[in-house]
Each structure stands twice: as C-alpha cells, then as structure tokens.
C-alpha cells in the first residue's frame, strides 16, 4: 500500500485527491493547505484525514511514500527541495519551476536523491498522442522535416485575477500555463531543439502574454512552429493539434484522432490514408475524473513506485525533463524580449 499526501487543495489538488483515493493500492492520508476555508471544511467532512495548514509539518511529521504538489507555481521550488532533502518521491503539477535559476538550483540537488519524480505533463497519456509517438518512433514517416502545432482555448477575454496572471508568481502567461504541454510533446517526439525564437502578445493581460508564436530549430534540420493562445474565439475546450511532415508522408494528431498519410507502405501501415480515433485507441481507466488521462498518468506513477511497470520511467516527464524544458521556456521569453531573435539552446543542454 502506497501512502500519498497532497499539498494544495485547489482545483488540481481535488482532482488528484479524488483519483488517488479511488486507487486500490493507495492509502490517501490527507493534505496540507494554508487556506483555512478549505482545510476547515475538509476537517468537518473527513475527520479521519490528516489536514494541516503548514506543508512542512505535514511532510516532516507524517509517514508517506509520495507527495503530490498542486500549489501555485511560485511555491513549487521550496516544496520540491523539501522532498529532495527527505528523499520523498513527488509528483508536481506543471510547470515545475517559475525560473531557470530555480531549475538549475534543483538540478544541483538531484545527485543524492533516491526517490522518483513526475511532473504533470499529462498530454503524454492522451491516447492519440501516444499513437503519434509510436508512429514517429517506428519510423513510419521516415526522416521528419517539419511540424506545425496549435493550442487554443476560449478562456481569457479580460484581465485575469490571481497568481496565474502575476509573472513573479507564475513565471509567465499562456506559454507556462498552456503551451508548455505542447512543447513537452515536441521534446518527447523529436528531442530538444537547438534554437528557439518567439513573438508574444499581451492582448488582455498587463503582466503576462496571452499569445505566443514560437519557432523551433533542431540540429538535424527539422524545423517547426507553434501558435498558442488562451484568447481564441469558439474554442470551448482546449484544442491541441500537431501536423508533422516527413520523408514518406504526414501525420496530423489532435485530442480526438490521428490521421496518417503515407506515400508507400511503411512499418505496419499501408500507403494512403489511415485514421485512428481516440475511441479505438482508448481503454477504460481506474477512474475517469476530469479526463481519463489524469487517471492513466497517476496510475503510471504509482506503478513506477511499486516497480510494477518496467518502462514507465521512459514514458513520463520527470524533474530532469522539466529542467530541460525550463531552459526552452526561458529562451522563449528571452527571444520575445529581443523581437523574436533565435536563441541558441546549446549552452543549456547537458
């Protein structure tokens, strides 16, 4: 039985608590949250849970195998450091850091860390993107030449309130809250870019960007772009789409399907068009809460702690992956300040 606690009982804390509570091999012990309304409410509703306002007391005084960190981004750094110090495996919601300095500082503490880590880049668990990864890895498209990605939602059409819209607390706007998911998929599919350039726009927010157009260059001549905003009309749900052009055809993947076009038979796929719907690709999950991929993500991490899944570490985004991702996010903001100049990432890479 894996003992799990949560820090931060906001929207994502409730989501993970609900999923984890329903896993048969998890003992959900409770949470820490400095919001008195939340903690007092749950003290009444769930008297058996451990509920504390101070996360340090919660972690240091109670036995647990994993801590789920679902607090605002600016608080992640101190909580991650506490986990590293206590060799406590942790899951942290994305993005893990609010600055490159934080990422580099954590990087220096990882050598002695004996626990496991996962960062909540849950799009790696969406069945269509998993299928796209399989088709790229089995070389169906041959050498990849270019890609175009978009990520849109109708969310913000006036100045936002709260920590998400304060760059000092969150590290940025749509790029760190939304686009980072697509950048993570690109890293997963193609490896790390050598250069990035970006133009960002503040349409409604005064302190953070509402839109970003980002160019990616890779050492193997692959090039691509991503366009992303949270202020797009007629996008009720977050809509992510990636089109990839390769030597032997193209692939378009979104939240609902994968469409493959091949100029010749490749791997197990025939020449011409082949489509894969999420309905064909999906399976039942332990509990569908929010979306099935949150459950798959949490299951994957729990199984890796139980050593039940031999290759789960290859699949999910751990804290080391986030250190690299942070270098890309930092370069995007640097480029934006320099009118879209391409920033060389070589010196960021290991």
């Amino acid at each position: 039985m894996i003992k799990v606690g949560v820090v931060g009982m906001g929207k994502m804390g409730l989501l993970h608590s609900s999923i984890l509570s329903s896993f048969e091999n998890v003992n959900y012990i409770g949470f820490a949250d400095d919001n008195k309304i939340m903690s007092d409410t749950f003290k009444k509703l769930k008297p058996a849970w451990i509920i504390q306002n101070d996360y340090k007391n919660f972690v240091q005084n109670h036995e647990m195998d994993i801590l789920f960190i679902t607090t605002p981004i600016s608080t992640h750094y101190d909580i991650i450091k506490l986990c590293l110090k206590n060799n406590l495996s942790f899951f942290v919601e994305k993005p893990a850091f609010s600055s490159l300095e934080q990422a580099n500082s954590i990087s220096k503490c990882l050598d002695n860390f004996k626990g496991k880590s996962m960062v909540g880049y849950m799009m790696r668990f969406i069945s269509t993107f998993v299928k796209a990864k399989e088709l790229i890895d089995n070389n169906s498209l041959g050498k990849i030449r270019s890609f175009e990605g978009t990520m849109y939602i109708s969310q913000l059409f006036k100045e936002g309130k709260g920590w998400r819209y304060d760059s000092n607390l969150s590290g940025g706007g749509v790029v760190v809250h939304q686009t980072c998911h697509l950048i993570d998929l690109l890293n997963w599919f193609f490896g790390h870019p050598s250069k990035v350039g970006a133009i960002t726009n503040n349409w409604f927010s005064s302190d953070v960007e509402d839109h970003a157009h980002i160019i990616f260059n890779y050492d193997n001549n692959l090039t691509g772009w991503v366009d992303s905003t949270w202020s797009r009309f007629n996008k009720r749900m977050l809509s992510t789409r990636l089109h990839i052009e390769g030597e032997y055809g193209s692939l378009t993947v979104d939240d609902d399907s994968v469409k493959l076009f091949l100029t010749k038979d490749r791997s197990k796929n025939k020449k011409g068009w082949t489509s894969f719907s999420k309905i064909e690709l999906g399976n039942g999950v332990d509990i569908d809460f929010g979306a099935p991929y949150y459950s798959t993500q949490n299951r994957s991490f729990i199984d890796s702690i139980l050593d039940k899944s031999s290759n789960s570490n290859l699949k999910f985004h751990d804290i080391q992956s986030s250190i690299k991702l942070q270098s890309i996010l930092s370069a995007i903001y640097k480029s934006s300040k320099n009118n879209g100049e391409l920033i060389n990432l070589g010196y960021f890479d290991e």
Binding site: K11, S18, S22, T41, L156, G160, G162, R236, I279, G284
Partner: protein, 289 residues
C-alpha cells in the same frame, strides 16, 4: 424484452459538446447559435414524443430556457432536467480567479436570498450553506419551466463518490427533494464505483445517468464490470453516450441497449427533425422486438 424507455433530448449539440471531435462540436454549436433554430428543434422533439430535455447551466442553455418558459405549448409538455453545473464554467473560472475566488464570484452574482445564505455560510465556515446557495443560483434559470430530476454533473458526483463525502451526498439528495419537490439524480463515468458507494450509503432508489454502449466508451473501469452493475441495479438508469459519440451505428447501439435490464430512459442527441424522428422510431422498434 425490456420495458420501453422514455427518450430525452440532450442539449450538448446546442453548446458544442462532441466527445468524438472538438471540431464537429464547434461546428454544430455555430449552427445552433440562432435561438430560433434551437426552439424549432425542441418543438419537433416534443411533437415526436420526446419526454424532456437535459440542460446544463451553460450561458446559451439559460437563453434557451428563457425562450421555453415563454412558450406555453413547449413549457407545459416537456420536462426539463437540469445537469448542474456547466462544469467548464467552473474550470475556466477557477483558472481565471482561483477556485474559492470563483465560488465567491458566483455567489455575488446570485440573488439577495442566496447571497445572505452564502455570507452566513462564509462567516460560520458552513460548507452546507454555501452548497445550498450555489444550487439555488444554478437552478434560478429553471424556476419557470417544468423541472424534472436535478442531476449532479459527473465531475461532482464522481468526486463525492471517490472522496466518500457522505454528508454532501445526503445533503444534495435531501435539499433537492425538500426545496424543489423533485428527485436528485447523478451523472457518473464510473458506475461500478458509484453503485458500491451508494449501497454502502443505503441509497437504493437512485436515478443515475451513465454511458452505456457496446464498445465500452467512457464505461470505466471496463464494459464488463458496468454491465454486471446495470443488470442488477436497484435504482433507475438513464443511458447516455449510447452511440459512443457517433462511433456505433444507431441500430446496433439500441439493439444492444434493448437487451439490458433497468434502462429507464435514454438520452439522445439530434440536430434535425428527421434525425430526431429516426432515432425515436429506432429505439421504439428495438424495444418492441
């Protein structure tokens, strides 16, 4: 042969819900941005024999409800089933102003009575007063229509089930019954878990809406475990996602469902009179075999 179920029109097509394709959903929502097109379709559904319509509290649904309430012909004939709340509004609102900030913002937009009750709830840290206020605010749009069972959105239902929030579960059932004179219903994507929890809570006459289709789409953790529960369920089951978002042919879908026990109603989508009629006749035919 199972008892012929009542047929309820879903409203997802009016606001762009399509579980197979975001793009198709957005296109369909554009078609129904004209409220007269929506009211026409609802009138068609009533004439064909649909028993009612399910509505969330999406802003467009609220406009539609207002129109229905002004049309005595529609309003007296159709049951309106609320599905509380339009959860995307809460997700987006929580992203914009934090979860607690959003709840306070919702309460500020309510009427004086709900505001007073909520203020008292905040001062006394009484979550139950806050929940009652939110229900009142959400159901305000339904006060002038013939309201049927009030369903709780699957995210909230499944949170109550997985966290075993016993007091909130019973409060919801009691409050809906005592205040609005109708039954409380629940939407879930995790029927076996819900069924087990409700049994532990001695709730046997529940009304539960869940995905039911032959390929197991949205039926967690598995098709098999769901079917075992459905066939032995003590309460009423309302089938949704019966076509698996259009993946299954309607005749196959309803033939499959007609062989199950305990299906009280079926929720269907439809974007034209012909489509609504075809679905209605097909369900009746499959359940007459």
């Amino acid at each position: 042969m199972s008892k012929k179920p009542s047929i309820i029109l879903g409203s997802g097509q009016f606001i762009g819900v399509n579980h197979l394709s975001h793009e198709k959903g957005d296109k369909r929502a554009n078609k129904f941005k004209n409220i007269d097109s929506v009211i026409n379709l609802i009138g068609n559904a009533k004439d064909i024999g649909y028993e009612g319509i399910m509505f969330s509290t999406h802003p467009h649904s609220i406009e539609i409800l207002k129109k229905i309430s002004e049309d005595s012909n529609l309003n007296n004939s159709l049951y309106i089933y609320p599905n509380l709340p339009y959860i995307q509004k809460y997700v987006t609102g929580a992203n914009e102003m934090g979860m607690i900030g959003f709840v306070f913002d919702m309460i500020k937009k309510g009427n004086t009575k709900s505001l007073l009750r909520a203020s008292k709830g905040i001062i006394t840290k009484n979550i139950f007063s806050l929940i009652k206020s939110l229900i009142e605010i959400e159901l305000n749009s339904f006060k002038n229509v013939k309201m049927g069972t009030v369903f709780l959105h699957n995210v909230l239902t499944d949170m109550i089930v997985s966290l075993e929030l016993d007091e909130i579960l019973h409060l919801y059932i009691r409050h809906i019954s005592e205040t609005y004179g109708v039954k409380a219903g629940f939407v879930t994507l995790n029927l076996p878990k819900l069924s087990k929890y409700f049994r532990e809570q001695n709730i046997e006459d529940s009304i539960v809406q869940a995905p039911i289709n032959k390929i197991g789409f949205q039926m967690n953790p598995s098709l098999k475990s769901n079917l075992e529960i459905i066939n032995n369920f003590k309460g009423k089951i309302i089938a949704m996602s019966t076509l698996a978002a259009g993946y299954i042919h309607p005749s196959d879908a309803y033939s499959f469902i007609s062989k199950l026990n305990n299906i009280d109603s079926i929720i269907v989508g439809g974007s034209s009179k012909a489509h609504l009629l075809e679905t209605f006749n097909l369900i009746n035919r499959e359940f007459s075999h």
